[in-house]
Amino acid sequence: MITRRQMAAWSGLSLLGASASGWFPHLACAAQQSNKAYRHCILLWMSGGPSQLETFDPKPRHENGGPTQAIPTAVAGIHISEHLPQIAQWMTHLAVIRSMQTKEGDHARATGFVRTGYLPQGPIRYPSIGSLLAQQLHDPQCDLPAYVSVNPFLGISPAAFGPGFLGPAWSPLIVSAQTAQAGPAASEDDDSADGVAFEVRNLQRHRDVSRWQAEQRLELLAAMEHEFAMQRPDTPVAGHRQAYERAVRMMTSEAVRAFRLDDEPDALRDAYGRNPFGQGCLLARRLIEHGVSFVEVNLSDDRGNGGAAGWDTHTNNFRTVGGLCSVLDPAWASLLQDLNDRGLLADTLVIWMGEFGRTPRINDNVGRDHWPGGWSVVLGGAGIRGGQVYGATSDDGTTITEDPVAVPDLIATICRALQLEPTDANISNVGRPVPLADHGARAIDRLLT
């Protein structure tokens, strides 16, 4: 049996002992419920750019509106699209921004901008909003990664999902839904997604490995890593260490129970929708309960799958968006209900957005193209004064007639809703302080409680 001290002595670097022993946390680290009230954030990410006209800014009296009808909501005077009847009942808790405006009509640039709050600028690697908020809001007691991304689509702008200059400690745990039966034969069968699960694989020690053996291995690995990292102060080496530390912490934690959706009543699972997005929203609530700071869930098609830019409706816009909304509406409404029932909504900000909107003019393929000039975002829950619409677009949808909102202003508003100060700064990889929201950003007071 080898002790760390012996190991350090043999390696000829006795100073190494202390740092090597800190390489992995002690295995006895148990899950604890935190006492401090940390706020949380759930982002419902609509990759591809959702049509505002078929969601929160319908134009039924103009030809640009197409066949989409508007319906009244729980708040008198506010109408939204007919595709979101359940969400309409939650309008008292929601604030709709109809006047988001950027100049970025390219998926990658727009995704980067909306998800980091910054346009690319020289060598600065801006963190995604998930990493940024996770780093600000994280509960040190939580054994799970502070940022979890469910069914993301990383094909457009991978860096917009990464930690940037904050470093690998704030990179997301990426979780993908496993469906029991993924065959096309089951596509029309509503029960086919019953088996949606979010297992984190390989969390258990391999069956042939004893606990003692596992500990020995980790100690030897820690010593090797330490020597290698001393000689090579490079990002990939530090990132490897972070990943192993976080993985070991998860392995030894009770908090991974959060992934067991089977613990939930059937009726609740049904309400969310038995599909990857619906169950992903349920998972988000469970992760928040277990102390995770930021969870995002991506929706890409009418079966609730993620992993694609499904809102990019250049063709067949109306049917596609209708299908997407049929998954979105019950999942989102159930999430709000569930958070509210458990007293979590007051501390949890729920954001609905994509990278831009769609052209008001309907194109020749019954589609809508990229439109950064006036589109919608919805906020609800923690810190948000619900029951209002902010900003407006013209009757044909092509111009903003009231209160345009820039991306940094949105980020600042999100920060304030989460009790963060938008001007607080991190030090970037080029040594320059970078505030949470870009210089000059102004939080929209009217949206905040």
Binding site: L154, N202, L203, H206, M224, E225, F228, R232, P233, M251
Partner: protein, 542 residues
Amino acid sequence: MNRRRGIFHRRPATVPGLVLVLVLFVRASGADSAGGAEPTGSPDGVVLSWKETAAQIDGLFAAAWQRHGVVPAEPASDEEFIRRVYLDLAGRIPSVSEVRAFLASDDPDRRERVVATLLENPAWVRHMTIVWRNALIPQAVMQADLRPLVPGFEAWLWERLAAKTPYDRLVREILTTDVQAVSPFVVRDAVRPDAFFAAGRLKPENLAAATTRAFLGVRLDCAQCHDHPFDRWKQDQFWKLAAFYSELPASSPGAVSMQEAGGSPGTIRIPDTDQVVSAVFLTGEVPRDTRFLREQLADWITSPNNPWFARMAVNRLWAQFFGRGFVDPIDDFSDANPAVHPEVLDLLAEQFVAHDFDLTFVIRSITASQVYQRSGVQTHASQSDTSMFARAAVRGLTPEQFFDSLAEAVGFYQPYRQDNPFVIDMTSARGRFLELFRSDGESVLEHETTILQALAMMNGDFTGEATSLKDSRTLRAVTEFPLMSDSERLETLFLAALARRPSPSERDRFLRFLDTHPDGQAAALSDIFWVLLNSSEFLLNH
């Protein structure tokens, strides 16, 4: 040009070996002006050998380091070199016997001999196929619906790279290939490069952006919607380039192509405007003819006088060996993003042209340089600046490099599918690892290990078997071979995983572990092998 030639379909037989080499059009007149950048052609026309080129690279870097007060790292040891050069050229770590043979050699030219040998090895072709596939159709790897494009494209690349096709011809073949409207959902097992067009969804604007980015390192993407915010490109320049692709067929059966919509050849309408523009090269010249537009575009792109073509290729190759290019990101040549060490970039580009776009010439020059043969061990703070190339940077592996190295280390052999070696079988161990280790980062220097990767390597079945006494070939060979001492067994595991012998302190530490393990020596060797396979030294190139 674009007549239909039948629909692709799944073929059980092997990929067809013949491909129609398309019309090689007469090279454009050499009058291209540079449009702000210098032409690439060597001013005095000196043709250097790869050894001379390597020596010049080293001379230029020595001067640059002196200018900037940089103290370069020590030369790489043979152990460092052999692992790095195998990963870079063969796409995998060397086997135990390959390391032993190299370390035992006293041939002073052993390093260049290894490079020469590897450049004749099928593993090199295989690795370069992956490298160029990632470079040319990156979306096809990321987006599941485009995956069926990959096998036919890889097969085509494989044939061209194995034949040592000059780079300009390779690019010309891609740009001028026969293109048909066909669903990307059909598995392409025809040996053809038209996946490049299918990956761009046959849209002129996508293809204009992809072409300039991949072959010229010029990012026009933002100019699609507005004038470029911090570069000289204007929106109409983007669409004038897109007009070269106006002759393509419609993106899907039922959709309307530019031609059918009544557009005149070589023109395109800028969306949401009434402005119709004609094809014009980025340097301002107009094509001579409104027919054969893609051929003329290929002429212009691959011309030795094109200011970007050779530089971009050389920049990409350099990044392949150092983790970053002179221009970084590699495909962002612009006034706002100047190259570091432009004199080296120009030298390599000139010699690349002078050697008729021979990719292996550039690779031999780079790998023979002392810059490439630096150690990764940091000895001075000035070596941290990766733009100085004064120390071998630690780089992430591609998923393929990683799995093929893991397979080499543990003695895992997975037969290729007989019917089509390019089809990725997602249920195989290799397929699963490729998926899990797919890197989303934009730079190998910022490579991140994910939690899920760490868990798979620590606890997964593959590692479990690789480190199990009954399943692992490498481990069994090491534990069961009767004539080895403990020290030799340890050394063999180190050579298998890390291509080096243990340091004296490691030897002491691990031998002590072997001696005192309560479950015996074999169990201890299994634990040690686990440690080596989970180390960042194994998971990274350095």
